[in-house]
């Protein structure tokens, strides 16, 4: 524990570093994931193929392998990432995290749309609502409620996965705090206990908040 007390500023820096990576990745993953979900329910077959292929590839391969692909394989194909503050791994790491998480966001959104009983849309059409009205006033509000809890778990899992990006060599986040501590002689036990506590400071409140939101918006069907 002494590492956490003595090197507290470094932990705080790592804490916000993790939050920063998570914020970038969450915004990217939510946008791309929602787009992919739109692809997967669209009537246009090529778009559906793109969505299905993306989900199959990214959901079934480990994030660590995707990090290797983004950091070492894509540059060989001419796709290079800018460095951030001298760190070459930041953008490849965040990009891999975004693409990986987008697959899970896509599935959560899609199952949310599917979870609205067909009778709801049929009834809306039967009383004469147009497509936009059916979607906007009847289906989407219900879908959003079912989507929030699984989306929340996806984002919490993503915050935890950002540790893998750190283990891979992105500095300035929580995992990398340990390397700096060990370099100046702290034991792994004291250094890593601090890292673990810092992660719990993010994931446990996030989990509680998600539970509270879940109870508030629960739909009684």
């Amino acid at each position: 524990m002494d590492a956490l007390v003595n090197e507290f500023p470094r932990y705080v820096e790592g804490f916000f570093g993790t939050l920063r990576i998570s914020l970038f990745a969450a915004v990217g993953a939510l946008m791309i994931g929602t787009l992919l979900a739109g692809f997967r329910v669209s009537p246009v077959p090529p778009l559906r193929w793109v969505g299905t292929a993306w989900v199959t590839v990214f959901r079934n391969s480990p994030l660590a392998v995707m990090l290797f692909v983004f950091a070492f394989a894509l540059p060989l194909a001419g796709v290079t990432f800018p460095t951030l503050g001298g760190n070459a791994f930041f953008w490849p790491g965040v990009s891999a995290l975004v693409c990986y998480t987008a697959a899970f966001v896509c599935e959560a959104v899609r199952s949310g749309i599917n979870s609205v009983p067909p009778g709801q849309a049929e009834a809306a059409r039967a009383v004469g609502l147009t497509f936009q009205q059916t979607l906007g006033a009847v289906v989407l509000p219900q879908a959003l409620r079912t989507v929030v809890p699984p989306l929340g778990s996806v984002i919490i899992a993503m915050i935890k996965n950002s540790a893998i990006v750190g283990a891979f060599g992105v500095t300035g986040e929580l995992f990398s705090v340990d390397a700096a501590n060990t370099a100046i002689g702290y034991s792994a036990l004291s250094s890593l206990t601090g890292v673990a506590i810092a992660y719990l400071c993010i994931t446990i409140p996030a989990g509680l908040a998600l539970g509270a939101i879940e109870r508030r918006i629960e739909v009684k069907r």
């Binding site: 329910v41 079934n60 001419g78 995992f175």
Partner: protein
């Protein structure tokens, strides 16, 4: 089609519009694929001496490359299998402890579960590999991976089983208690067997997560898993032969993982369908599994 309930059966105008968008999207997709291939060709990534050693059985290096990868893959699969066994055993114990114990004791179990669930699995693996040797427990590197993975996955499995028990109809436990079984007997003989059955698809999905997580062995110093073996082969080719295989090798590694996990995913779907057909008396699970069985970790 999910969208079809949102609008009426398309008329001729809509059908034509859909056909046009399909053509446009198809051309765009084909163009993208051509663009990627051209780019790869320009960078010299399509040459036979880069793909051959991994994908062509007639290449002189093929056997050696896959022997090296195979050793890593065996380590990876061994770690996944051991983790599954330990996580199932400890997870069942945790679930029983949580469901059957007194209040004070249960509070302790819940705390352990919540703490371990909140940690990134890469941290538990790294913790095991760094801290255990430090306090004098030196094991083969494989065991650090198994211990780290088990620490995380046993609590997930405990939660899966707990929601499985909750999904067993109340009449089952009421009947068991009425014929004079104790609470522990009811759990062991009546509830848990049914919970395992109900939750089999979720357990298989968790196996997919475990297989993916074994790739996190790269944080353990000196552990030769599948990914590490791939990196060694890449280094060998770059150093001895001056050929950079990175792109081709990572494609191969990803393909192997995708094949294994896609297969497991299909198995989970199949089991789910079989169970849905086979069970008439029991109610379906009341709600989604409240754990991140699908998204737990990479």
């Amino acid at each position: 089609m999910t969208a079809s309930v949102l609008y009426d059966i398309p008329g001729p105008v809509t059908r034509r519009r859909t056909a046009i968008s399909t053509a446009v999207a198809g051309v765009a997709l084909a163009g993208l694929i051509v663009l990627v291939l051209v780019q790869l060709g320009e960078k010299g990534q399509l040459e036979a001496d880069k793909w051959g050693p991994i994908f062509s059985p007639f290449n002189q290096y093929f056997v050696a490359v896959w022997t090296a990868l195979g050793i890593g893959l065996v380590n990876t699969i061994t770690a996944a299998a051991l983790t599954l066994v330990f996580a199932l055993a400890i997870g069942t114990l945790l679930a029983v402890a949580r469901l059957s114990s007194t209040k004070a004791y249960r509070w302790f179990v819940v705390t352990v579960i919540e703490l371990l669930r909140g940690l990134p699995v890469v941290i538990t693996i790294y913790f095991a590999s760094r801290v255990l040797p430090e306090i004098g427990i030196s094991l083969a590197p494989l065991w650090y991976l198994v211990i780290g993975l088990t620490a995380y996955n046993c609590v997930i499995i405990a939660e899966i089983l707990r929601s499985g028990v909750a999904a067993v109809p109340r009449g089952q436990s009421e009947a068991a208690l009425a014929v004079g079984l104790t609470r522990l007997q009811t759990l062991r003989m009546i509830l848990l067997p049914q919970a395992f059955r109900i939750m089999l698809p979720a357990l298989i999905s968790q196996l997919v997560v475990i297989v993916k997580d074994t790739s996190l062995g790269f944080v353990i110093f000196g552990f030769s898993d599948f990914v590490r073996a791939a990196n060694t082969v890449i280094q060998y080719f770059a150093g001895r032969l001056g050929i950079n295989l990175a792109l081709q090798m990572y494609v191969a590694v990803a393909l192997v993982f995708i094949l294994i996990n896609y297969g497991l995913g299909k198995l989970a779907e199949f089991v789910q369908r079989r169970l849905a057909r086979g069970r008439r008396t029991a109610a379906p699970p009341q709600r989604e599994v409240p754990v991140d069985a699908e998204v737990g970790a990479p």
